[in-house]
């Protein structure tokens, strides 16, 4: 039977201290739930750096390409439009006119793509079931989640280590 520990703290400084102490004892922290981003917790619990930036770049590049392709088709290829006497038979010569739209479309695709990817990856799209162990982590409490499955230490050893920290509440559950 595997056990999961949900250790709750009422202050982010206590959380940071506890996380450092637990990691120093060789305990692997599965996750931390907090109402706001706790600066500096990532390197302590060994969270890998986000790849969201790469995704954003890919979405934005897609936006740039789509915008240029679209404008080439609408304004140059399909129906050349004469606006203010600007060159209308060549994309490159008329490029300055398309720059604002291309820029905006890149931002639009980058921002929306990034937001949707983030929500999907976190499972927090509207209507998705909540995965945080305690609803109070959306208010003013912080929870560290530790499982026996990921750790070599026994449940009893981990419990003593956890109880040495300035915790607010501890819940231990069994899971398959």
């Amino acid at each position: 039977m595997n056990k999961v520990f949900h250790v709750m703290y009422d202050d982010d400084d206590k959380l940071m201290e506890a996380a450092s102490a637990l990691v120093a004892k060789g305990i692997r922290v599965k996750d931390v739930f907090s109402p706001f981003p706790v600066h500096g917790i990532d390197p302590i619990i060994g969270v890998k750096r986000t790849r969201l930036g790469i995704v954003a770049f890919m979405f934005a590049t897609t936006g740039t390409t789509l915008a240029l392709l679209g404008m080439w088709y609408f304004m140059i290829s399909d129906w050349p439009m004469n606006i203010g006497g600007k060159p209308s038979f060549s994309l490159i010569e008329n490029l300055p006119a398309f720059i604002p739209v291309t820029f905006e479309f890149s931002v639009l695709c980058g921002a929306h793509g990034m937001a949707i990817t983030y929500l999907l990856r976190n499972g927090t799209l509207p209507g998705m079931p909540a995965t945080n162990p305690d609803p109070r982590t959306t208010d003013d409490k912080f929870v560290i989640e530790i499982t026996t499955e990921q750790n070599a230490l026994s449940a009893a050893e981990m419990e003593t280590a956890i109880k040495e920290t300035q915790l607010f509440e501890l819940s231990i559950k069994d899971y398959e």
Binding site: R49, G53, G84, G85, K86, P96, A97, I99
Partner: protein, 419 residues
Amino acid sequence: MEFKFEGRTKLITQILMGIGLIALIGGFMADGTDHHQRWWANLLVNGFFWFSISLAALFFYALNYAVEASWSALIKRCFEAMWHFLPIGGGVIIVVLAAGHFFHAHHLYHWMDNSLYHEYMVVEGDTIEFMDEATEGAVANPNYDHIIAGKQPYFVTWFFWLRTLGYIGTFLIFARLFRKWSLLEDEQPSLDLHYKQFKRSAVFLVVFAVFSSMLAWDWVMSIDVHWFSTLFGWYLFSGMWVSFMIMLNLGLIWLRSKGYYQEVSSSHMHDISKWMFAISMLWSYLWVSQFLLIWYANIPEEVTYYTQRFFSDYQVPFLITFFVNFAVPFYTLLPRDTKRNANFIVPVGLLIFIGHFADVYLLVIPGTLFDHNEFGIFEVALFLGFLGLYLNRTLSALSKAPLIPKNHPMLQESKELHY
């Protein structure tokens, strides 16, 4: 820890200064253009470029104080050292302006020609007397320029010099005060001094906002006197700011490799690189904003500025400058890791730095030398000479005070910066 300015470093800056001096003398003699126009124009380019880097250092110092930024407390002595070129740069600009205005040694600024402002003239033998109203015996002045004459109230001698000396004087006063208080803080720990700098910095930013725009009109935009652009001041401001950030980043990398500033971490470098990236984008944004509206509106009096640069020998450098200053920082400085890696920052920084020098060069040269321009050994040598002079002044100022301020209230926070 104090920086020691001696040995090979000092020698190199002195050799560079020597190259510059030879370039100044040799360039003046070899310059075949009318009134040594090429020599004066390049003096203005270099004087303004290096002056503007010092000015951006002063601005950035004030900005960090005014917004109570903590990360930069550790390296603020670098900003202080970097504005020590202000009096020399300002002096070069004053010499160039005065030589044109009072001695007619060159013709960089078309509006300095007194004959443009008067509609009529009376010719008696060799003397010509200009006048604004038709009197007896007066004939129409063929040199009269309606547009420039309309700008006379702004370009009238006393007002122009009041502004020019006013800008430089104000900057020097602020620079002196900031330096004085900063050194005083080392001796007497007091929060009062910090808040004094905080308040004066806010005042300086207001003054700078007005003066940085106006000096751009007066010294650079007035070269193309028929033309104007309302965002020109910000465009030059973003250029000087990014040049300063690059200089700071490269300087810190060099100082750290010499064993100084070991407290400065890659997080500080990351922050400076972010500035480099962000201000490069600001510069590109302003470049495009200025170009796009003029291109779209296609009004003859506005497009002259661009036809002079696009449909001439300047076309290739003009386009390359834009793409280097925009695309290179955009693609190389976007990821997190490159911002913290000196092996990336040094070549990219050098490339953009030269790009921004080329930008200033292309602001001045097409309007002063037109299609008679040559780019040769003189330009390169003069650039190196000013580089040596700038580094010499900066490093000698850096060696005169402890590298790390002692009693800055945010020093500890700056040391513990992590990202």
